[in-house]
Amino acid sequence: MTLRSHRTGFLLLLLALLATAALSVFFGRYPRLGWLSPGNLRADPLAAQLLWNLRLPRVTAAVLVGAALSASGLTLQMLFRNPLVEPGFLGVSQGAAFGAAFAILYLGRSPLTVQASAAVFALLGLWLTYFLAGHLRYGGWILRMVLAGIAVSALFSAGVGMLKYLADPLTQLPEITFWLLGGLWSTRWPTFLPILPLTVLGLGCSSWPAGG
Protein backbone atom coordinates (compact mmCIF):
# COMPACT_ATOMS: atom_id res chain seq x y z
CA MET A 1 0.00 0.00 0.00
CA THR A 2 1.11 3.53 -0.69
CA LEU A 3 1.53 6.12 2.02
CA ARG A 4 -1.51 7.95 0.73
CA SER A 5 -3.88 4.99 0.99
CA HIS A 6 -2.42 4.23 4.42
CA ARG A 7 -3.37 7.73 5.50
CA THR A 8 -6.90 7.42 4.09
CA GLY A 9 -7.34 4.08 5.86
CA PHE A 10 -6.15 5.56 9.13
CA LEU A 11 -8.53 8.52 8.82
CA LEU A 12 -11.45 6.20 8.07
CA LEU A 13 -10.66 4.08 11.13
CA LEU A 14 -10.40 7.21 13.28
CA LEU A 15 -13.77 8.40 12.00
CA ALA A 16 -15.31 5.00 12.74
CA LEU A 17 -13.92 5.16 16.28
CA LEU A 18 -15.33 8.65 16.86
CA ALA A 19 -18.70 7.61 15.41
CA THR A 20 -19.03 4.51 17.61
CA ALA A 21 -17.89 6.49 20.66
CA ALA A 22 -20.53 9.16 20.03
CA LEU A 23 -23.12 6.47 19.43
CA SER A 24 -22.25 4.81 22.76
CA VAL A 25 -22.43 8.09 24.65
CA PHE A 26 -25.82 9.18 23.31
CA PHE A 27 -27.55 5.79 23.01
CA GLY A 28 -28.73 3.93 26.10
CA ARG A 29 -31.52 2.84 28.41
CA TYR A 30 -32.43 6.19 29.96
CA PRO A 31 -35.07 7.64 29.93
CA ARG A 32 -36.20 4.85 27.58
CA LEU A 33 -34.27 2.63 25.20
CA GLY A 34 -32.91 4.92 22.49
CA TRP A 35 -31.30 8.29 21.90
CA LEU A 36 -30.79 10.98 24.44
CA SER A 37 -31.85 14.25 22.81
CA PRO A 38 -30.37 17.67 23.63
CA GLY A 39 -33.83 18.57 24.97
CA ASN A 40 -33.62 15.67 27.44
CA LEU A 41 -30.20 16.83 28.56
CA ARG A 42 -31.30 20.38 29.24
CA ALA A 43 -34.56 19.49 31.00
CA ASP A 44 -33.44 16.48 33.02
CA PRO A 45 -30.46 16.85 35.39
CA LEU A 46 -30.37 13.07 35.85
CA ALA A 47 -29.91 12.55 32.09
CA ALA A 48 -26.98 14.99 32.03
CA GLN A 49 -25.43 13.30 35.09
CA LEU A 50 -25.74 9.86 33.49
CA LEU A 51 -24.10 11.11 30.32
CA TRP A 52 -21.21 12.95 31.97
CA ASN A 53 -20.51 10.69 34.93
CA LEU A 54 -21.49 7.21 33.70
CA ARG A 55 -21.40 6.93 29.92
CA LEU A 56 -18.54 9.29 29.09
CA PRO A 57 -15.95 7.80 31.50
CA ARG A 58 -16.97 4.29 30.40
CA VAL A 59 -16.61 5.03 26.68
CA THR A 60 -13.34 6.95 27.17
CA ALA A 61 -11.95 4.07 29.22
CA ALA A 62 -13.00 1.63 26.48
CA VAL A 63 -11.12 3.69 23.89
CA LEU A 64 -7.98 3.78 26.07
CA VAL A 65 -8.12 0.06 26.88
CA GLY A 66 -8.56 -0.75 23.19
CA ALA A 67 -5.63 1.46 22.26
CA ALA A 68 -3.42 -0.17 24.90
CA LEU A 69 -4.38 -3.68 23.77
CA SER A 70 -3.72 -3.01 20.09
CA ALA A 71 -0.43 -1.25 20.89
CA SER A 72 0.72 -4.20 23.01
CA GLY A 73 -0.16 -6.63 20.22
CA LEU A 74 1.68 -4.56 17.62
CA THR A 75 4.73 -4.06 19.86
CA LEU A 76 5.04 -7.79 20.51
CA GLN A 77 4.66 -8.57 16.82
CA MET A 78 7.44 -6.16 15.88
CA LEU A 79 9.66 -7.08 18.82
CA PHE A 80 9.60 -10.79 18.04
CA ARG A 81 9.41 -10.29 14.25
CA ASN A 82 6.42 -12.59 14.30
CA PRO A 83 3.02 -11.73 12.79
CA LEU A 84 1.30 -14.47 14.82
CA VAL A 85 2.03 -13.31 18.34
CA GLU A 86 -0.29 -11.43 20.65
CA PRO A 87 -0.45 -11.39 24.47
CA GLY A 88 -2.77 -14.43 24.45
CA PHE A 89 -0.19 -16.45 22.50
CA LEU A 90 2.91 -15.74 24.56
CA GLY A 91 1.72 -16.68 28.02
CA VAL A 92 1.24 -13.00 28.90
CA SER A 93 -2.55 -13.05 29.37
CA GLN A 94 -2.51 -16.36 31.24
CA GLY A 95 0.41 -15.18 33.38
CA ALA A 96 -1.54 -12.03 34.26
CA ALA A 97 -4.61 -14.11 35.11
CA PHE A 98 -2.53 -16.32 37.40
CA GLY A 99 -0.93 -13.26 39.05
CA ALA A 100 -4.30 -11.64 39.71
CA ALA A 101 -5.85 -14.82 41.11
CA PHE A 102 -2.75 -15.38 43.26
CA ALA A 103 -2.99 -11.85 44.70
CA ILE A 104 -6.74 -12.24 45.39
CA LEU A 105 -6.04 -15.44 47.34
CA TYR A 106 -2.76 -14.70 49.12
CA LEU A 107 -1.72 -11.04 48.86
CA GLY A 108 -4.66 -9.20 50.38
CA ARG A 109 -6.69 -8.46 47.20
CA SER A 110 -6.29 -4.68 47.22
CA PRO A 111 -6.70 -3.32 43.65
CA LEU A 112 -3.07 -2.14 43.54
CA THR A 113 -1.64 -5.49 44.68
CA VAL A 114 -3.84 -7.41 42.23
CA GLN A 115 -2.78 -5.24 39.27
CA ALA A 116 0.90 -5.24 40.25
CA SER A 117 0.93 -9.00 40.71
CA ALA A 118 -0.83 -9.45 37.35
CA ALA A 119 1.81 -7.27 35.64
CA VAL A 120 4.72 -9.13 37.27
CA PHE A 121 3.37 -12.56 36.33
CA ALA A 122 2.55 -11.35 32.81
CA LEU A 123 6.21 -10.38 32.32
CA LEU A 124 7.27 -13.67 33.91
CA GLY A 125 5.07 -15.51 31.39
CA LEU A 126 6.64 -13.58 28.53
CA TRP A 127 10.17 -14.26 29.81
CA LEU A 128 9.42 -17.98 30.26
CA THR A 129 8.11 -18.21 26.69
CA TYR A 130 11.19 -16.44 25.36
CA PHE A 131 13.52 -18.59 27.45
CA LEU A 132 11.80 -21.82 26.42
CA ALA A 133 11.76 -20.84 22.72
CA GLY A 134 15.53 -20.22 22.91
CA HIS A 135 16.07 -23.79 24.09
CA LEU A 136 13.83 -25.53 21.59
CA ARG A 137 15.56 -27.39 18.77
CA TYR A 138 12.74 -27.57 16.28
CA GLY A 139 11.39 -25.41 13.48
CA GLY A 140 11.98 -21.74 12.85
CA TRP A 141 11.91 -18.91 15.39
CA ILE A 142 8.23 -18.05 14.72
CA LEU A 143 7.09 -21.62 15.28
CA ARG A 144 9.27 -22.02 18.38
CA MET A 145 7.84 -18.87 20.01
CA VAL A 146 4.28 -20.00 19.34
CA LEU A 147 4.93 -23.52 20.65
CA ALA A 148 6.66 -22.23 23.76
CA GLY A 149 3.81 -19.73 24.26
CA ILE A 150 1.23 -22.52 24.10
CA ALA A 151 3.14 -24.51 26.73
CA VAL A 152 3.53 -21.54 29.10
CA SER A 153 -0.13 -20.53 28.61
CA ALA A 154 -1.24 -24.08 29.47
CA LEU A 155 0.93 -24.06 32.58
CA PHE A 156 -0.52 -20.79 33.90
CA SER A 157 -4.08 -21.78 32.93
CA ALA A 158 -3.66 -24.91 35.02
CA GLY A 159 -2.41 -22.70 37.87
CA VAL A 160 -5.50 -20.49 37.61
CA GLY A 161 -7.66 -23.62 37.71
CA MET A 162 -5.96 -24.75 40.91
CA LEU A 163 -6.29 -21.31 42.55
CA LYS A 164 -10.00 -21.24 41.63
CA TYR A 165 -10.42 -24.65 43.24
CA LEU A 166 -8.77 -23.37 46.44
CA ALA A 167 -10.66 -20.05 46.49
CA ASP A 168 -13.47 -19.19 48.88
CA PRO A 169 -16.61 -19.64 46.73
CA LEU A 170 -18.44 -16.72 48.38
CA THR A 171 -15.81 -13.99 48.21
CA GLN A 172 -12.62 -14.88 46.29
CA LEU A 173 -14.05 -16.99 43.48
CA PRO A 174 -16.52 -14.31 42.23
CA GLU A 175 -13.70 -11.75 42.41
CA ILE A 176 -11.39 -13.95 40.29
CA THR A 177 -14.18 -14.57 37.78
CA PHE A 178 -15.01 -10.85 37.49
CA TRP A 179 -11.33 -9.98 37.09
CA LEU A 180 -10.86 -12.58 34.34
CA LEU A 181 -13.95 -11.43 32.46
CA GLY A 182 -13.12 -7.78 32.88
CA GLY A 183 -15.65 -5.05 32.38
CA LEU A 184 -16.15 -1.32 32.30
CA TRP A 185 -19.64 -1.28 33.80
CA SER A 186 -18.52 0.40 37.04
CA THR A 187 -16.05 2.86 35.47
CA ARG A 188 -16.54 6.41 36.73
CA TRP A 189 -14.14 9.38 36.58
CA PRO A 190 -12.35 8.45 39.86
CA THR A 191 -11.70 4.89 38.59
CA PHE A 192 -10.85 6.20 35.13
CA LEU A 193 -8.13 8.60 36.30
CA PRO A 194 -5.49 5.98 37.24
CA ILE A 195 -5.88 4.37 33.77
CA LEU A 196 -5.03 7.58 31.95
CA PRO A 197 -1.34 8.17 32.92
CA LEU A 198 -0.49 4.46 32.62
CA THR A 199 -2.00 4.17 29.15
CA VAL A 200 -0.46 7.42 27.93
CA LEU A 201 2.92 6.29 29.27
CA GLY A 202 2.61 2.89 27.62
CA LEU A 203 1.44 4.30 24.30
CA GLY A 204 4.15 6.97 24.41
CA CYS A 205 6.90 4.41 25.03
CA SER A 206 5.68 2.03 22.35
CA SER A 207 5.39 4.73 19.68
CA TRP A 208 8.83 6.22 20.51
CA PRO A 209 10.96 6.03 17.33
CA ALA A 210 13.39 3.16 17.73
CA GLY A 211 16.02 4.86 15.56
CA GLY A 212 17.64 3.08 12.64
Binding site: R29, Y30, P31, P45, L46, L50, N53, L54, R55, T171
Partner: protein
Protein backbone atom coordinates in the same frame (compact mmCIF):
# COMPACT_ATOMS: atom_id res chain seq x y z
CA UNK B 1 -25.79 -6.77 36.19
CA UNK B 2 -27.99 -3.72 36.78
CA UNK B 3 -26.39 -0.34 36.13
CA UNK B 4 -27.36 2.95 37.72
CA UNK B 5 -28.70 3.98 34.32
CA UNK B 6 -31.19 1.09 34.32
CA UNK B 7 -32.29 1.99 37.86
CA UNK B 8 -32.78 5.59 36.68
CA UNK B 9 -34.90 4.35 33.76
CA UNK B 10 -37.06 2.28 36.12
CA UNK B 11 -37.50 5.39 38.33
CA UNK B 12 -38.40 3.38 41.45
CA UNK B 13 -40.41 4.83 44.37
CA UNK B 14 -38.23 2.93 46.80
CA UNK B 15 -34.77 1.36 46.74
CA UNK B 16 -33.73 -1.49 49.05
CA UNK B 17 -30.00 -2.00 49.37
CA UNK B 18 -28.70 -5.47 50.28
CA UNK B 19 -25.15 -6.04 51.45
CA UNK B 20 -24.21 -9.58 52.47
CA UNK B 21 -20.70 -8.80 53.66
CA UNK B 22 -20.71 -5.18 54.79
CA UNK B 23 -23.14 -2.86 56.56
CA UNK B 24 -26.31 -2.29 54.46
CA UNK B 25 -26.89 1.07 56.20
CA UNK B 26 -23.49 2.27 55.01
CA UNK B 27 -24.13 0.86 51.52
CA UNK B 28 -27.44 2.79 51.39
CA UNK B 29 -25.63 5.90 52.62
CA UNK B 30 -23.03 5.49 49.88
CA UNK B 31 -25.79 5.34 47.27
CA UNK B 32 -27.46 8.46 48.70
CA UNK B 33 -24.17 10.37 48.56
CA UNK B 34 -23.42 9.39 44.95
CA UNK B 35 -23.54 12.47 42.67
CA UNK B 36 -25.54 10.63 40.01
CA UNK B 37 -27.87 8.67 42.33
CA UNK B 38 -28.61 11.89 44.23
CA UNK B 39 -30.95 12.79 41.35
CA UNK B 40 -33.07 9.62 41.75
CA UNK B 41 -36.56 10.29 43.06
CA UNK B 42 -36.26 7.58 45.74
CA UNK B 43 -33.14 9.31 47.09
CA UNK B 44 -34.75 12.75 47.06
CA UNK B 45 -37.84 11.50 48.91
CA UNK B 46 -35.75 9.58 51.46
CA UNK B 47 -36.95 6.16 50.32
CA UNK B 48 -33.60 4.33 50.25
CA UNK B 49 -33.30 1.61 52.89
CA UNK B 50 -30.64 -0.83 53.99
CA UNK B 51 -32.11 -4.34 54.17
CA UNK B 52 -31.59 -5.56 57.77
CA UNK B 53 -29.32 -8.46 58.71
CA UNK B 54 -28.16 -10.19 61.84
CA UNK B 55 -25.80 -13.13 61.23
CA UNK B 56 -27.04 -13.06 57.63
CA UNK B 57 -29.32 -10.87 55.52
CA UNK B 58 -33.06 -10.98 56.19
CA UNK B 59 -33.77 -11.09 52.43
CA UNK B 60 -32.47 -14.67 52.18
CA UNK B 61 -34.82 -17.58 51.43
CA UNK B 62 -34.37 -19.03 54.90
CA UNK B 63 -36.33 -18.63 58.13
CA UNK B 64 -35.15 -15.00 58.47
CA UNK B 65 -37.54 -14.14 55.65
CA UNK B 66 -40.30 -14.19 58.33
CA UNK B 67 -38.60 -11.07 59.71
CA UNK B 68 -37.61 -9.71 56.29
CA UNK B 69 -41.15 -9.88 54.92
CA UNK B 70 -42.62 -8.07 57.92
CA UNK B 71 -39.92 -5.41 57.76
CA UNK B 72 -40.44 -4.97 54.01
CA UNK B 73 -44.24 -4.79 54.35
CA UNK B 74 -43.96 -2.11 57.02
CA UNK B 75 -41.84 0.00 54.64
CA UNK B 76 -44.03 -0.50 51.57
CA UNK B 77 -47.30 0.01 53.52
CA UNK B 78 -46.34 2.07 56.56
CA UNK B 79 -50.03 2.95 57.23
CA UNK B 80 -51.11 -0.71 57.47
CA UNK B 81 -48.24 -1.81 59.69
CA UNK B 82 -48.12 1.20 61.98
CA UNK B 83 -48.36 -1.03 65.07
CA UNK B 84 -45.54 -3.42 64.02
CA UNK B 85 -42.63 -3.44 66.45
CA UNK B 86 -39.95 -5.15 64.35
CA UNK B 87 -37.45 -5.39 67.21
CA UNK B 88 -40.09 -7.13 69.35
CA UNK B 89 -40.73 -9.49 66.39
CA UNK B 90 -37.00 -10.13 66.22
CA UNK B 91 -36.88 -11.18 69.88
CA UNK B 92 -40.04 -13.33 69.56
CA UNK B 93 -38.67 -14.95 66.39
CA UNK B 94 -35.42 -16.14 67.94
CA UNK B 95 -37.15 -17.05 71.23
CA UNK B 96 -39.84 -19.26 69.63
CA UNK B 97 -38.10 -20.63 66.52
CA UNK B 98 -34.61 -21.20 67.84
CA UNK B 99 -35.40 -21.46 71.59
CA UNK B 100 -32.67 -18.92 72.35
CA UNK B 101 -32.65 -17.35 75.79
CA UNK B 102 -32.76 -13.58 76.21
CA UNK B 103 -29.07 -13.50 77.12
CA UNK B 104 -28.08 -14.88 73.71
CA UNK B 105 -30.60 -12.71 71.85
CA UNK B 106 -29.73 -9.47 73.62
CA UNK B 107 -26.05 -10.17 74.19
CA UNK B 108 -25.01 -11.79 70.91
CA UNK B 109 -27.61 -11.26 68.19
CA UNK B 110 -28.85 -7.74 68.86
CA UNK B 111 -25.35 -6.18 68.58
CA UNK B 112 -25.06 -7.80 65.12
CA UNK B 113 -28.20 -6.08 63.81
CA UNK B 114 -27.53 -3.76 60.86
CA UNK B 115 -29.78 -2.02 58.36
CA UNK B 116 -32.64 0.48 58.44
CA UNK B 117 -34.19 -0.39 61.79
CA UNK B 118 -35.82 1.77 64.46
Amino acid sequence: MVTLEQIAAWAPDQVYVIDYFGDPTQAAEKLRADPVARNLRAVQTGQVFGFPKDTYSWDQPDSRWILGLQWLASHIHPDRFADLDILQEFTTFYRTLYRLDDGAIEGQLRPMLRGSLP
